[in-house]
């Protein structure tokens, strides 16, 4: 295969990794954001967190793989993007760190011995989910729209700062991913639980989903009209986004949770495909100097590396998909607070703390 073809394959593969990430960690973020609002008592909150228990860590690996794959296939893109968006990524990293330990630590103390422990970790889960759900949208919107890049010592370098990214278009993109992920999470919760949680999640999914639809259409049209390099293809994908989202909300309203989840997952996929379709053949356009634009071809690594990595991806990705799907099958059962008779169970309180 030629170098040009391999570079395109890797552009597609990185899009695939982001699709996986938006589908999987998308609902993780949504559930985390909804946790303090849908969970009315400790047993409910523990049920909600437990829907993510076996899967959140594996879901987050899609991000690490997307990062690693960008490094391996498009080092120049990785270098310019990650150093340029430094503070935004710092915020995301802090959020993901706090959120990850919060899952593991939240039930390690009981409410009797440490009254604020679980509440504090639940808010950590909330903010740790809210911040990345918003900032991934901000980041992608800015990538698609282009950011100030200039040639410095032969390299394309970002010349803006954190506030350059917080422009109206970028913020709208952030609100769209925030809304999409929250709704996607609510639909997942309705699918994975029974009783009150299920009812509340179903209702919230409909409400937030509607608001998101308005924002998403505005963002989609703006992107389509102002920032698409492939107007025909992207408008087709945009229609698919809208259809999938309408399907998700309709199925949610009818209480067909499985279909609603499939449709909202499809929406996440189409959103990523839409953004990458608008972007191609660039990977990081410059808004100030066309010479500094990074493209699929000028940012791609060597033919040898891309060939090796293609083999690795072709062999390993299906294997990963098989065992990750199997996890969802093993833990397919719905959860409810009645399965958690003792919410204090498993906490590491010492005997004298509990009796006092």
């Amino acid at each position: 295969m030629t170098h040009d073809q391999l570079a395109i394959i890797w552009f597609v593969l990185i899009a695939v990794l982001w699709c996986g990430y938006f589908v999987l960690e998308g609902f993780d973020f949504g559930v985390g954001i909804l946790l303090p609002f849908i969970g009315k008592n400790e047993a409910e909150r523990r049920t909600i967190v437990s829907t993510l228990g076996p899967v959140w860590d594996g879901n987050e690996v899609w991000l690490l793989t997307a990062g690693g794959a960008t490094f391996a296939a498009f080092s120049l893109w990785y270098a310019t993007l990650f150093s340029g968006f430094y503070l935004a990524l710092l915020l995301i990293l802090v959020a993901l760190i706090v959120r990850g330990v919060a899952f593991e630590f939240r039930s390690k103390r009981g409410t009797a011995a440490a009254p604020n422990w679980r509440r504090n970790w639940d808010w950590a889960i909330f903010f740790g989910s809210f911040v990345p759900a918003l900032l991934w949208g901000v980041a992608f919107a800015n990538i698609v729209a282009g950011v100030p890049l200039e040639m410095q010592n032969g390299n394309s370098e970002f010349t803006g700062n954190l506030f350059t990214l917080l422009n109206p278009y970028g913020l709208l993109g952030g609100l769209v991913t925030l809304g999409l992920f929250t709704t996607h999470g609510a639909i997942f919760l309705a699918l994975k639980t029974e009783g009150d949680i299920r009812t509340r999640a179903n209702k919230l999914a409909g409400q937030i989903g509607l608001v998101t639809a308005v924002l998403a259409v505005a963002f989609g049209l703006w992107t389509q009209l102002a920032h698409s390099n492939n107007t025909v293809a992207s408008v087709v994908v945009l229609v698919l986004v809208v259809l999938a989202w309408v399907g998700a909300l309709a199925a949610n309203r009818l209480g067909r949770e499985g279909w609603a989840f499939i449709a909202s997952a499809a929406t996440m996929v189409f959103v990523v495909v839409f953004l990458f379709t608008c972007l191609y053949p660039n990977v990081m356009p410059s808004s100030t100097n066309a010479d500094a634009t990074l493209t699929v071809q000028n940012a791609a690594n060597s033919q040898y590396t891309l060939t090796i990595m293609t083999w690795v991806a072709v062999i390993l990705t299906p294997v990963v998909l098989v065992y990750q799907s199997w996890t969802y099958w093993v833990f397919r059962r719905r959860l409810s607070p009645s399965q958690i008779p003792d919410p204090e169970h498993g906490s590491l309180d010492l005997p004298h703390e509990v009796s006092a």
Binding site: A69, S75, A79, L90, E104, N155, L348
Partner: protein, 469 residues
């Protein structure tokens, strides 16, 4: 301090911190798998209790290992963008493979293990912890292959047009002797520290009289693993040192503070010298040992160890003017700390076996202190080993190809990197306090008195969640 210094501090702090959790994860995941296998094979409930107990300690530790690992994947691009551009064609590949081949494996199967006790048939459930443990080891292999490239670049060419390093032989990167020796050394040291941790925890609980029967079993397991691993650490370290002399003679010269090329070079256990390390006032020496460690010969022309001054002159000729020696006192002391603290770990394991022989219950305060703090010695020894490895390579970020000062992100302001350094340091510090607190609680509570397990096909299964977050 400028952005470069701050970026180096940040990389050092976040990486050393991350690597406190990594060796414990690698060793403890596999030893927990061994305990569960023992239960699966014998049906002895003591092993089940041990599995549950050390599994809990392992998971508390694993959580911080995972989240601090995300930072590692990102900060090459964030703070070291010119480095990422220069070596990305080579360095990115093992990182991507690591994520795809091992991160998915460990995270997915660990999720199945934690929550699958009553969802999976017992044999399959046992397989999940082995898969996760195997994943942690695989992950170590790929990241060490990447690091070994920084120590000894191989399998690449420099593209004359772009001036970037390009991969031409991935097999070489994965299988060069630096990678293999480093992997063996790191893995055996991970088992050493995990073994000593298990010994310490078991010993403390034996002294407290909690689940003493089960803890005697785990103490023996941990001690045998620590002693065997300790011997392997010594052997692999020796192999690695000889490779290092070939590939990075300056690092070995710095480790021994050898300034003048000489035969029959002694190993100084302790040296009192000038602050910059260029002059020694007094030293306690073992004759010829440095020569032996570096070359395999105690005396004669074959025992020649190249000195810093000669290497400096040689490098100036090759690379132009500049200082090509690392900060010698740090290399010298980190090298000794690594060896000494690792050896103490083995000693602790032997003492623990001795004081608990024939069902004895030790009562001395000294033994109790050893039980509590003992594993910190080999753990800090591993950190010292990494500080030696990385600081000993300076001024290079990729040995002989790129200097550290040329790898830092050119657009990153002092404010940006300063802010993130402060944020990471404070956050990591706070999390360390919380984590240590939880680990102490878990140990104080000790193994469960009884463990009730439901079969995967039990009719009542699903009424309650045996494990929930």
């Amino acid at each position: 301090m400028n952005a470069l210094d701050l970026a180096r501090w940040q990389f050092g702090i976040t990486t050393v911190y991350h690597f406190l959790f990594v060796p414990l994860t690698i060793g403890t995941s596999m030893l927990t798998a061994v305990m569960q296998t023992a239960w699966y094979r014998t049906g002895d409930e003591k092993w089940l209790k041990a599995t549950k107990f050390f599994g809990k300690l392992f998971l508390i530790n694993f959580a911080l290992g995972v989240v601090t690992g995300i930072v590692q994947e990102f900060q090459f691009g964030m703070a070291w963008s010119d480095y990422s551009r220069f070596v990305g064609d080579i360095f990115g590949a093992p990182l991507a493979v690591e994520a795809l081949a091992s991160f998915f494996l460990e995270s997915t199967f660990l999720g199945l293990w934690i929550f699958g006790w009553d969802r999976l048939p017992r044999g399959l459930h046992l397989a999940t912890i082995w898969a996760a443990a195997f994943g942690t080891m695989l992950s170590a292999y790929f990241i060490l292959a990447a690091n070994s490239f920084m120590q000894h670049p191989t399998g690449y060419v420099i593209n004359p047009v772009t001036k970037r390093a390009e991969l031409v032989d991935f097999g070489k990167v994965l299988t060069q002797n630096t990678t293999v020796a480093t992997f063996a050394h790191v893995i055996s040291s991970a088992f050493l520290v995990s073994g000593v941790m298990i010994v310490g925890v078991s010993l403390w609980l034996i002294m407290k009289g909690k689940s003493a029967d089960a803890m005697r079993k785990t103490l023996k397991l941990g001690a045998v693993v620590a002693i065997v691993a300790g011997l392997l650490v010594m052997y692999t370290g020796d192999v690695q040192a000889k490779i290092m002399v070939q590939q990075q003679p300056m690092k070995m010269a710095a480790a021994e503070a050898v300034y003048k090329t000489a035969e029959n070079v002694p190993f100084s256990l302790v040296t009192v010298g000038s602050l910059d390390g260029s002059e020694a006032y007094w030293a306690l020496d073992i004759p010829g040992l440095t020569s032996f460690l570096a070359t395999g010969n105690w005396t004669g022309p074959e025992s020649t160890v190249q000195g810093i001054n000669d290497l400096q002159a040689e490098y100036e000729k090759k690379f132009g003017p500049g200082n090509y020696a690392p900060y010698v006192p740090l290399a010298f002391w980190a090298f000794r700390a690594m060896i000494g603290l690792g050896a103490l770990g083995v000693l602790f394991a032997i003492i623990a076996l001795f004081v608990t022989r024939k069902g004895k219950v030790p009562g001395s305060t000294l033994v109790r202190l050893m039980a509590i703090f003992g594993f910190l010695f080999p753990l800090i020894g591993i950190s010292a080993g990494w500080i030696f490895t990385e600081m000993g390579r300076q001024p290079w970020i990729v040995y002989g190809l790129m200097k550290t000062e040329n790898g830092v992100s050119p657009t990153m302001s002092t404010f940006t990197i300063g802010l993130s350094l402060v944020v990471f340091t404070l956050l990591y510090g706070a999390l360390a306090v919380i984590e240590v607190g939880l680990l102490i609680r878990a140990v104080k509570i000790g193994p469960p008195e009884t463990v009730e397990l439901m079969d995967a096909d039990d009719a009542n299964n699903g009424q309650t969640l045996t494990f929930s977050y």
